[in-house]
Symmetry: C2
């Protein structure tokens, strides 16, 4: 069947098509689906890839590090050398300046914000004592935005471009001394899968913010999460560029193994410049005796070098490629019908779908009505408000492929209905 | 040799004795000891007791909870049912109102303080917006005091009595609306090993603080850590007493398995009244997707019921009894010499040694000079300042028994020297 752009159809054809699609929708509803594509959770098959992580530290003897630290006991607060190396390598930062956390890098981001809010960064007033604005490249990660909003910071939207945040706008906004930070997912960004260009990274490293306590929150959540590991996107090292510019303290780097090993049972880290690292360790020491070092050692033994990590991530890619393919194949006709656009990510966890303006909420509502949960409309924007109500985040990793195909059939049906209702 | 009280000796005998002891000290120094009794860390033999914890979840299949939750994946934020039950039972609180954390209950305490500081308790202004005073029964746990001092709260010392904090003073101090909380280690208190009497618990449950957002921080760190499990100290349930009085929201309960399984790789929890629990979950959801549920499940499988827990804690007691005995035996002569006093704890991790006023710092300095690290002088007091400079916290659990005996020989020698220097 030759596709026709919806906006080129006459109104009679559109009405007839809508009627037919509504009948299809009624049928889909009656089928009693219970599908979930709301969050970027790994599938069970992906989790199975790390089964050996559960047994790699099996005895008391196994629990001792190369330096003789008994991981079962307390301390040191910043983690074991093996884990600092593993996560420092992923972030591209100096292992000596890596603080290893528990299973949640989000929690470490919250800690950094908390310490800045209550105590202030080295030499600066607590953020809680004044007004704070935070830059939010959008669409972006909903949990980032929600966290800074929860601290009472004002979120300022920065549009994303195919090469990263619009740096002209960033360079302008940081002239405001109330702007204290920016959220970045620099590789395979959530949700668009965009990797920042070298030029973007260099412009980040050259920023001269009015606030001396401005920090780039560089959440490299998908650093090694390539769909085509033989030909991955390459992200220029922000850490390296900052050092060249003598601005080593301007960024906080984050990563985790949540989407490498176990989403709920991985390890994570934060890295930063030397002065900030001393600052972080001081405040962390008042908050905890340190994180689970047994799990750090498990990870270091399970992923002993970069070859092991690469081989492991290739297995993830093998499982994820068909899922991303299935979503893209399902979406394809919508392009010819002129009612949707999306990018084809080369890694990460999401596909960012743009439907006709004013239609995203309706699509998500229709999907929910037929038993498919999608991420809330507007989630990828500050305050959960998509100014054009057109963005939908598709998370293809969790459902088995047959469910995914059914879910995407439903998504496409709902996009068509919502589009015809709008046109 | 018949012991003589030092203060009854003539000055000539004292000088002669001091000379002899100094010679002994020079010998001890030359021996090149490297001993550490500074922290309440479990011994390696104790950690070995939980070796099976490392293998109790060994396969992907093992990682699924009774309710079908895959512990390897994200969510739920407040933990799995099995762990809520285990830790709720230890705290004596409703499992539905238990939030399970990672390996650090200290971190959960810090979270509660952070959320109160930034957002305020339900219906109240953020603590950060005004002056906050915190009650500190002393001697007490140094990390508690340091944490609240770090938030900028004013620490107010409450003297400990053999039945717990001096409740006359507590009842008086809480009339001040700036007093927002009190630290308690109600069973086998750190460092004295005191268990609060029923009367003390009832008076806590009957408190009518001026501040509606006053909270008792009830850190039951040694809830099941009896040295004589057949005849343990019994702590009245604060949770039960509060409920009777309709004051279910006045306490935050904490516990951890740090000294049950692995000090660095356990699980922990916080429990509280219903409104506060909703408040906590709301703020935690902005901070993390939840803690390591695989480790929660490990613990639930390793300690499936109260009989298993009791049997496990008896094994700890078997290892710890000789260590506590060795310390008490070593100290015994000091009593006859009239230069020290201490209590005999029936559980917990410490012996609280009181030397002559003005001597604690000197004893610790002398010990350090001969290669024995003790907890800093004054650590058990707010701001690290022991008003009488007499308290020394002895942590007998970590060193093997032969080291412990050598260390205690050194402690006694240094107490004698410091006492003679003072008299």
């Amino acid at each position: 069947m030759a596709m026709q752009k919806y906006n080129e159809m006459d109104s009679h054809s559109r009405s007839a098509l809508l009627e037919k699609l509504r009948a299809d929708y009624a049928g889909a509803k009656a089928a009693g689906h219970k599908l979930d594509m709301s969050r970027g959770k790994p599938g069970r098959d992906q989790l199975d890839l790390s089964e050996k992580l559960l047994t790699v530290v099996s005895s008391s003897r196994d629990a001792i590090t190369e330096n003789g630290i008994d991981t079962r006991n307390y301390l040191p607060t910043d983690g074991i050398a093996e884990a600092k190396k593993l996560l420092g390598d992923i972030m591209g930062t100096d292992p000596d300046l890596v603080f290893v956390g528990g299973n949640s890098s989000l929690n470490l981001m919250h800690d950094c914000l908390t310490f800045a809010y209550i105590h202030g960064l080295p030499g600066f007033a607590p953020w809680g004592s004044g007004k704070v604005k935070f830059l939010c490249p959008a669409p972006g990660y909903d949990r980032h935005f929600a966290m800074t909003a929860h601290f009472g910071f004002e979120l300022i939207t920065v549009p994303m471009t195919p090469t990263g945040p619009d740096m002209d706008i960033v360079e302008e906004l940081i002239k405001d001394p109330e702007v204290k930070g920016i959220w970045c997912v620099p590789k395979y960004s959530n949700p668009q899968g965009i990797t920042y260009s070298d030029d973007t990274v260099r412009r980040f490293a050259a920023l001269c913010p009015a606030a001396g306590d401005f920090r780039i929150f560089w959440d490299n959540a998908y650093a090694v999460h390539d769909l085509d590991p033989a030909n991955p996107d390459k992200l220029l090292s922000l850490s390296g560029e900052l050092s060249k510019n003598g601005k080593g303290d301007m960024a906080f780097f984050f990563c985790s193994t949540s989407k490498i090993t176990f989403a709920g049972g991985g390890i994570c880290a934060v890295s930063m410049g030397k002065d900030d690292f001393i600052w972080l360790k001081k405040h962390k020491a008042l908050q905890t005796v340190g994180y689970d070092k047994i799990n750090m050692l498990r990870h270091a033994k399970f992923l002993p070098d970069s070859a092991a990590l690469t081989a492991h991530m290739e297995k993830h890619a093998q499982l994820l490629r068909p899922k991303f393919r299935a979503v893209l194949d399902a979406l394809a006709p919508l392009k010819e019908e002129g009612i949707a656009a999306w990018n084809e990510p080369r890694g990460g966890y999401f596909i960012s779908l743009d439907v006709l303006p004013g239609c995203a909420k309706r699509v998500i509502e229709l999907c929910a009505g037929a038993g498919l949960t999608l991420t809330n409309a507007g989630a990828a924007f500050p305050y959960g408000k998509d100014p054009e109500d057109k963005n939908i985040r598709i998370a293809p990793t969790m459902p088995p492929i047959d469910e995914l195909v059914r879910a995407m059939g439903l998504v496409c049906l709902c996009v068509r209905i919502a589009s015809l209702e709008k046109l």
